[in-house]
Amino acid sequence: MVKIHIDKKPIDVEEGTTVLKAAETAGISIPHLCYHDAFPPEGSCRMCLVEIEGLPKLELACSTQVRDGMKVFTKSEKVVEARKGVLEFLLAEHPLDCPICDKAGDCKLQDYYDEYGLFESQFRESKEKREKKDKIGKSLIHDEERCILCRRCVRFLREITETQELGVFERGIHSRVNIYDLTPVDNNYSGNLAQICPVGAITDEDFRFKTRSWFLKKGESICPLCSRGCSITIEYHPGFSHFGVPSRVYRIQSRENQEVNGFWICDMGRYGYSYLSENRLDKIVINNKEWNIQPTWEDVSYFINQQLKKLDEGKKTSQTVLILNTWLSNEELFLIHKIFKNDQNLERIFFADRPQAEKDDFLLTAERTPNKKGALEMGFDMKPANPGALSDKTDLLLAFGSFLAEQISAADLKKALEKIETKVLFTSHENELNSLFDIVLPTALIPEKGGSLTNIDGKIQKFSPVFEPPGDSLPEWMMLADLGRKFGINSSFYGEFKTPETIAKEIENEVPFFREQK
């Protein structure tokens, strides 16, 4: 531990810390462009200059280590003057076309100019014209005029993906970032480049001109597209209702989580968000002629209960089949386990999930579903749903999700389902499968509900609702707790479950794995 003073504020920091990080711990932010927590300091942008007592020149905060008794000034006249100067040079060749730059609003250069610059340009020469729209990767556009040569992108591709598609070419004022021999940036993590570029030099084609970043609302969530469970930020717009523009998700960004994904997410998780708004089911669908009303969840839950009770009383619970998936949260799987396995001794529980796919050696896992580990630890034996699963006599089928169609061929499924008297499907999307069921209930997706998921390494991660589910959709845990209450064997037990947190507490009480993980 060493004792230093930053802006006269005494702080104790670990030896070997840089001045920039030490200041951060004290709540003092020092402007920086090239430095990123993921990489060792580079010292190329000169934005982080600070004054250190006893040293004749200003020093770089990002690469100077603390010394005992060091006195640092981050806001002295000299420092502010120097920052202005650095900014002036950075902007000398910068196009400042913020009105058409997708980074505007998130751009550090813009922020620092607003904070320290605000000068009139002294350059009389016109700015140099460079390549403004260079497609350098799957979904990446490079603007050479805006690049400040911080080399974050180059370092990312060298150190993180080790694919090295970008380099800095030529020298002096002719330096520019580009790809080698027209080989585009093509790896499953390329989307991170647009996020770490501190300016609008690398922008994302997927987000290009769609909206402005300051219109977007942000919510923290977990990516459910593979079992890694990376931390993400979902950026969405609630829609311009009086112009008939619906709410939608505009982009997904990675969120720092050193225990799981570091600073990064894969491109599959970044660009795979259309499912959140497209083809959503928002009303209860009835495909059974006997129902001549548009029911509410109350009506349907009453009906399901009647069926369950009938089978229970006739000692025929073996004629109930449950098809689950591992997009269900720990809380939901727990409730299902309680109601159907403990209360009803149901044997025929199967899983239908999205099939496994190729993994890579960084974040993406083979399991393209977020909670397989959770289901295993909850005590399910995870028998796969196949035509045989439905071959025995079945009176009631409760299915969750629409992955059944991916595992059983349409013809087989139709044949199997025809013989079943009552079929209820809980699903979030419109799907061909839906027409085969009597009742289809709309459900909420991960960003629309609360709960927790267990990732491939057994880490339990909580998530909270970011936005509302569409129409009449309800989170599964709510419907399940309601069924538990109505089914009546132990209704006071289920009566407690008003929030996902109360269920999570009960899980910790009952399932050792979840207690230990805590």
């Binding site: 009105p99 058409i100 001109f209 112009f243």
Partner: protein, 157 residues
């Protein structure tokens, strides 16, 4: 009875006020005819809409979008006007302009005049001087609310 008397008094008061204006104005008009200069002038009614008063230079009238030389809008769809508008009555959708110098142009630009409060913030926010409120048009009315929703075709001139 007392109530009816009250009405009657008000009617008389009204007549007095109207006649006072009439005679005072008449008096100044007669002085003018006789060639006597006074500081105060007799009031004149403008015969709107046959006759129109000149609009002051800073008056805020119906918006218009400015065009570039080639007829395309100057607007680059930066949406700063959308951001600043307190009535949330502007909606802009951007598209890719093949011209590399421009890159971004508004494929949709809608102002719902029915919601606009004529504050002029959009004009001030625009970095391209693409939107102005100097068309001089003040008589825009419609039979439906949709008549007051102006799109790119109507605004660009």
């Amino acid at each position: 009875m007392i109530k009816a008397l009250g009405y009657f008094i008000e009617i008389i008061r009204g007549i007095v006020i109207t006649s006072r204006h009439f005679f005072v104005n008449m008096f100044f008009h007669i002085l003018k005819v006789l060639g006597i200069k006074t500081k105060r002038k007799g009031a004149v009614t403008i015969q709107y809409p046959e006759q129109k008063k000149e609009i002051a230079a800073r008056h805020r009238s119906l918006h218009r979008l400015m065009a570039r030389e080639d007829g395309k809008p100057r607007c680059v769809a930066c949406m700063l006007c959308v951001t600043v508008c307190p009535s949330e009555c502007i909606y802009v959708e951007a598209a890719e302009d093949p011209d590399l110098e421009m890159q971004k142009y508004p494929s949709k630009f809608i102002i719902d005049i029915g919601r606009c409060c004529f504050c002029g913030f959009c004009v001030e926010a625009c970095p391209e001087d693409a939107i102005r409120m100097d068309s001089g048009e003040i008589d825009f009315a419609g039979y439906t609310r949709d008549d007051l929703v102006y799109d790119l075709d109507k605004l660009l001139r």
